[in-house]
C-alpha cells in the first residue's frame, strides 16, 4: 500500500471525485471540474492545431523559401469562412462551403455506395457455401430474413397491407433485438469507464490494488 506522491495524480484524482460528486447532486465542485475540462480541451485543440497545422503547413511554406504561392488560393477560400462573424459579409461562407460540400460528396458518395451498400448486399446473398454447417446455415438465413424484413419496415411508399404488414412486423422484432443488443453493449461500455476510473483511483492514487 503506497499512496501516490505525484502532484498530477492527486490533481487527476481530486478532479475525478469532483465530477463523481454529481451522482449525489449538482454542486459547485462538479461545476468547477466541468469548466476546467471544457477550457482545457479547447485550449489543447488550439495549441495542437497551431503547431501541427498552421505553422508547418501554412506559415512556413508561404513565408520561407521555396515559397509555395499556390497555397494562397485554398487559404483565401478558407478565409472566407470567417465571413460568418460579420452581418454584412456572412454570404462569403457559401463559397468555401460549396467547395467543401462538392469535393466531399464527390469523394464520399461512390465509396459509401460501394462500402455500405454493394459490399453489404453481396455479403447477404445466400450462396451455397454459406450452408456448410447447421449453425452457419441458421445464421445465414437469420441475417437474410433480418435484412429483408427490416428493409420492408423502412419502406414508406406503400401501405402496410397484404404481405408487407406481416413482414414489417417481423422487421420491427429484428430492430428491437438489435436495440437490445446495443443497449447491453452500452451498459458494458459505461461500466468499463467506471472500472477504468476506479483502477486509477485504487491503483495509481491510493495504491491499494
Amino acid at each position: 500500500m503506497s499512496i501516490s506522491t505525484s502532484i498530477w495524480v492527486w490533481i487527476a484524482a481530486l478532479l475525478t471525485l469532483m465530477i463523481y460528486s454529481f451522482l449525489y447532486k449538482e454542486n459547485p465542485f462538479y461545476r468547477l471540474a466541468e469548466h476546467i475540462f471544457m477550457g482545457l480541451s479547447i485550449g489543447y485543440s488550439v495549441v495542437i492545431l497551431w503547431y501541427n497545422y498552421i505553422l508547418p503547413r501554412i506559415y512556413e511554406p508561404l513565408f520561407f523559401p521555396p515559397h509555395q504561392w499556390s497555397l494562397i488560393f485554398p487559404i483565401l477560400i478558407g478565409m472566407m469562412t470567417f465571413g460568418i462573424f460579420s452581418e454584412k459579409y456572412n454570404w462569403l461562407i457559401k463559397y468555401p462551403l460549396a467547395v467543401y460540400v462538392a469535393g466531399y460528396a464527390g469523394v464520399q458518395i461512390p465509396l459509401q455506395l460501394q462500402t455500405m451498400i454493394l459490399r453489404q448486399a453481396e455479403a447477404s446473398f445466400l450462396t451455397p457455401d454459406k450452408f456448410t454447417s447447421l449453425f452457419s446455415s441458421f445464421n445465414a438465413l437469420l441475417i437474410f430474413a433480418g435484412l429483408v424484413t427490416t428493409l420492408i419496415y423502412f419502406y414508406f411508399s406503400a401501405k402496410r397491407e397484404h404481405g408487407l404488414g406481416g413482414a414489417s412486423q417481423v422487421g420491427i422484432i429484428f430492430i428491437m433485438i438489435a436495440f437490445g443488443a446495443a443497449f447491453g453493449y452500452t451498459v458494458m461500455a459505461r461500466i468499463s469507464l467506471l472500472i477504468g476510473r476506479m483502477q486509477f483511483l485504487l491503483q495509481d492514487w491510493l495504491g491499494i490494488m
Partner: protein, 373 residues
C-alpha cells in the same frame, strides 16, 4: 524461324491504366524455362546508361514501375537469367506515364449513382407538379402527436418540445423543425401552451419563426408567446439538467424529443417518464434509439423521421428523396432476391451435374464484386 519468333522472350511497357499517373506497367512474355530471376532495367531518354529498376516476379510476369515521372520517355529492358543462358528482351519504342481523367473500372458505380440521381430528380419534379400524388405511408407516431397534444390540453398541462442538441445543419434538426410546425399548429388550435427550450441560438430563431407561422396558420397569432421559445445553454449536460428542471417544475402533459441527441437522451426520456407525460421521440442518432424505445411511448426510428417530415411538409425535395431511396431499397431487394434464387438453383443443379446456373450466378457475383472493388 516463325516458331522461334513466337516463343521468344519479349517485353511490353505501357502506361498503367486508370491511375493518377507516375506508373508504367511492364509485362514479360514467354519466360524461358528454368528462369531463376528476371531483372528490369530502364533508360531515360537523353541518358546513355540503363539503370536497374528491380525484379519482375516470375509467377506474375508483371511489374508496375511507380518511380517514373509523367511525360518523361523511358526505354525498358528485361533480362531473364537461367542457369546457363541470359535472355534479353527490349521494347522498341519509348514508353511514358500519364494520369487518366476517367477511371474506367468504376463505370458501373457512375451508372449506379447517375441512375439514382435521375430517379430522385424525376420524383422531385413529380412532387412539384402534384405533391399529393406521391404516396407516403402515414406513421403511427404522427397520429399519436395530435392525440398527445389533445391529452395535454385536457389535463390543462403544457406541451414540451425539445429539438435535440445539434445545429441547424443537421438533417435531424431540420426534420425536427418541420415536425415542430405540425405540433405548433395543433397546439394553437387547442389553445395550449408550448415550451420550447434550445441548445443553439440559430435553431432557436428558426423555431421561433416556425411557431409564429404555425400559430398564424391556425388563426391564433395572438396566442403565440415568443418567450416560451428560449435559449438554455450550449453545454450538453447543462442543457439536459435545464430541461429536466423544466419537466419537474412545469409538469408537461406531452413531451416531444425530436432531433439529434447524444448521451443525454436517456436522462431526458427517463425524467419525462417519471412525471407521467406522453412521450413521442424521434431521432436519426441510431445509438440513442434504444433508450428512447425503452422510455418513450412512440418513437420515430431513424429514417422514419425524414419520412415523417416529408409527409407533413409535402416539400418536393424531401418527398423526392424519400421516394428515391424507397426505389433504391426495392432494387436492392430484387437484387438480393435474384441472388438467392440463382444461389439455390445453382446448389441444386450443380449436384445434378448442370453447371449452367452456377455459371450465371458466378457472373452476377463477379459483376457485383467488380462494382464493389
Amino acid at each position: 524461324m516463325i516458331f522461334l519468333l513466337i516463343l521468344s522472350f519479349t517485353i511490353s511497357a505501357k502506361d498503367t491504366p486508370d491511375d493518377a499517373g507516375g506508373s508504367i506497367t511492364i509485362n514479360v512474355y514467354n519466360i524461358p524455362e528454368g528462369t531463376e530471376q528476371i531483372e528490369l532495367y530502364r533508360l531515360t531518354k537523353g541518358d546513355t546508361l540503363f539503370e536497374e529498376v528491380g525484379l519482375i516476379p516470375i509467377f506474375k510476369g508483371e511489374l508496375d514501375d511507380a518511380t517514373v515521372t509523367d511525360g518523361v520517355l523511358y526505354l525498358y529492358k528485361a533480362t531473364a537469367l537461367t542457369p546457363d543462358t541470359v535472355y534479353v528482351a527490349e521494347i522498341k519504342e519509348f514508353a511514358s506515364s500519364s494520369p487518366e481523367w476517367f477511371n474506367k473500372s468504376r463505370t458501373s458505380v457512375l451508372l449506379f449513382i447517375a441512375l439514382f440521381w435521375v430517379v430522385i430528380l424525376v420524383y422531385i419534379q413529380l412532387a412539384k407538379k402534384n405533391p399529393e400524388g406521391l404516396f407516403i405511408r402515414k406513421l403511427p407516431p404522427l397520429e399519436a402527436m395530435d392525440e398527445a397534444v389533445g391529452r395535454a390540453t385536457e389535463m390543462g398541462k403544457p406541451v414540451l418540445y425539445v429539438p435535440g442538441i445539434e445545429y441547424i445543419t443537421d438533417a435531424g434538426t431540420l426534420a425536427s423543425i418541420t415536425i415542430l410546425a405540425k405540433v405548433g399548429r395543433k397546439v394553437a388550435e387547442y389553445e395550449t401552451r408550448i415550451i420550447n427550450p434550445h441548445f443553439d441560438p440559430i435553431v432557436m430563431t428558426t423555431a421561433q419563426e416556425t411557431l409564429k407561422n404555425a400559430f398564424s396558420e391556425a388563426g391564433r397569432p395572438d396566442a403565440f408567446n415568443k418567450d416560451d421559445v428560449f435559449y438554455l445553454t450550449s453545454e450538453q449536460f447543462g442543457f439536459a439538467a435545464g430541461v429536466d428542471g423544466i419537466m419537474l417544475r412545469e409538469r408537461p402533459g406531452a413531451i416531444f424529443l425530436q432531433g439529434y441527441f447524444y448521451a443525454e437522451s436517456l436522462i431526458l426520456a427517463e425524467t419525462g417518464y417519471s412525471i407521467g407525460a406522453i412521450q413521442i421521440a424521434g431521432t436519426n442518432a441510431t445509438t440513442q434509439l434504444p433508450f428512447f424505445v425503452a422510455a418513450c411511448d412512440y418513437v420515430l426510428l431513424g429514417e422514419e423521421m425524414f419520412a415523417a417530415s416529408a409527409y407533413i411538409s409535402k416539400e418536393p425535395r424531401l418527398l423526392g428523396s424519400i421516394k428515391g431511396s424507397d426505389l433504391a431499397k426495392s432494387v436492392l431487394l430484387v437484387l438480393i432476391g435474384v441472388g438467392v434464387i440463382f444461389g439455390t438453383f445453382a446448389a441444386i443443379k450443380n449436384v445434378a451435374g448442370n453447371p449452367v446456373y452456377m455459371e450465371i450466378f458466378d457472373r452476377i457475383l463477379e459483376f457485383l464484386a467488380r462494382t464493389a472493388e
